[in-house]
Symmetry: C2
Subunit: 259 residues, 2 copies
């Protein structure tokens, strides 16, 4: 149910602002949105699954269909839900072509999306260095999993990734499981570890390749590389992954829409 145990018909009077308190008010549809988000987070509806219809949800929360609709609209705009007319509303998942390209912005010279092949170099549990710990909101020395991998596009090494994962959440992750898994890495995280990436921030820089990197990426030492440092967040804006990538941008570029 929504907020007031009393009136459910009186629209605006639903959540009266507490006279003394500051900013405790929130519109009904945002309260519903929060309830839906919690259900998603707790796994009541899993990625790819159908959630109850608007009418059912309206009955469950004792609000109008329109209010549920607005809450769902907001979640769909954040890519947490996907609406399909005539079929229902589904929990978004990384197991679809759509979701991939939201998190991989490198495209071919002609603008075509790329389909990289993964080669895992390394996967270890270690104690978090202080900078990683800070970004993952852990204490320095807490456990993290670090994965190194090379992405090849059309047989050519193009991206060198170093991926740091929240240790407690990714217990049991090994190089074998990564190598065996068919499909996107975030799909594995979602299905096998119940951790869904829903948002990320990237910091981009141009850097010069050091000797080791140059060797792995088959470029000259000192060659310019695009450095992409990503922090990925799950529900509740909790950071769960830090990813440092070095991209060869001779035959590809990073595409970004400003709008």
């Amino acid at each position: 149910m929504a907020i007031p145990p009393s009136a459910s018909s009186a629209a605006g009077s639903a959540a009266a602002p507490a006279p003394g308190a500051g900013a405790t008010f929130s519109p009904l549809y945002q309260q519903i949105k929060r309830l839906l988000t919690r259900s998603l987070q707790e796994g009541e509806w899993k990625p790819g699954e159908l959630i109850p219809s608007e009418i059912e949800l309206a009955a469950r929360y004792k609000v109008s269909q329109g209010t549920v609709r607005k809450a769902i609209d907001a979640l769909a705009a954040e890519n947490l839900l996907v609406r399909r007319q005539g079929r229902g509303t589904f929990v978004a998942t990384h197991h679809e072509a759509r979701a991939q390209f939201r998190f991989l912005r490198l495209v071919s010279e002609n603008g075509a999306p790329v389909h990289p092949e993964s080669r895992f170099l390394d996967c270890k549990r270690v104690r978090a260095p202080s900078d990683i710990a800070r970004q993952l909101e852990l204490k320095a020395g807490d456990a993290v999993v670090v994965v190194r991998r090379l992405l090849l596009i059309e047989e050519r090494p193009t991206i060198l990734d170093e991926i740091w994962l929240h240790g407690a959440l990714f217990k049991g992750l090994t190089a074998e499981r990564l190598a065996e898994y068919k499909g996107p890495m975030y799909g594995l995280f979602e299905s096998e570890f119940g951790v869904r990436m829903i948002q990320a921030t990237e910091k981009l820089r141009a850097v010069a390749a050091d000797a080791d990197t140059a060797h792995l990426l088959a470029v000259a030492p000192g060659a310019p590389l695009l450095s992409v440092e990503r922090v990925s967040l799950t529900y509740g804006d909790r950071p769960v992954e830090v990813r440092r990538g070095l991209y060869v941008t001779f035959r590809h570029y990073y595409e970004n829409e400003l709008g």
Copy 2:
């Protein structure tokens, strides 16, 4: 008025799909959205101005307030309009802090937005090279204006821009007008030339500084620079600017949100 001269109450029957034709149907609110966009494009309401209230627009187009609201919501989501509760709905403008940061993604090490100072190096009318012509959808040899400028952040040269503008639209643009103008460049374009940038696509790469660039940006020749090639669009997705920037990313980075 919307589409059907006949019924205005019968909701869904508004635009019946022509049986033989393909995809001529569009919901009412999208038709209204298109009409609003046309009024924006034609300058009926200028950047920064207040547009008529939802109720007035509903009367004008003979639709319900809710339908107007949905059209405005869509335009606000595309940053063409800005809603302000209690005041009205305004045409978006580049003369506000908000709009700046949508088109300048470089931020300080600590994430703070930067306030660069412009130094104009050059401004000429020339015939478009073929690659620029193609990107601006002109014929090779058509007139374009090319501007070169240096952006300094905290006294240090940080961005070298080469800006190619649609010649016919920017007739009369000179280095003096650029230098005199107080405020953002896109603000000048909007106020003085009636050209509003509403969207852009950027292609990012890492490149090595050549000798001239290195000198202007005060870095070593061969230093890694972030290359940002932007194509900016105005109403109707018409390209009107190609901008090639080289960014020094030692003390700053390009920030991007994925989500």
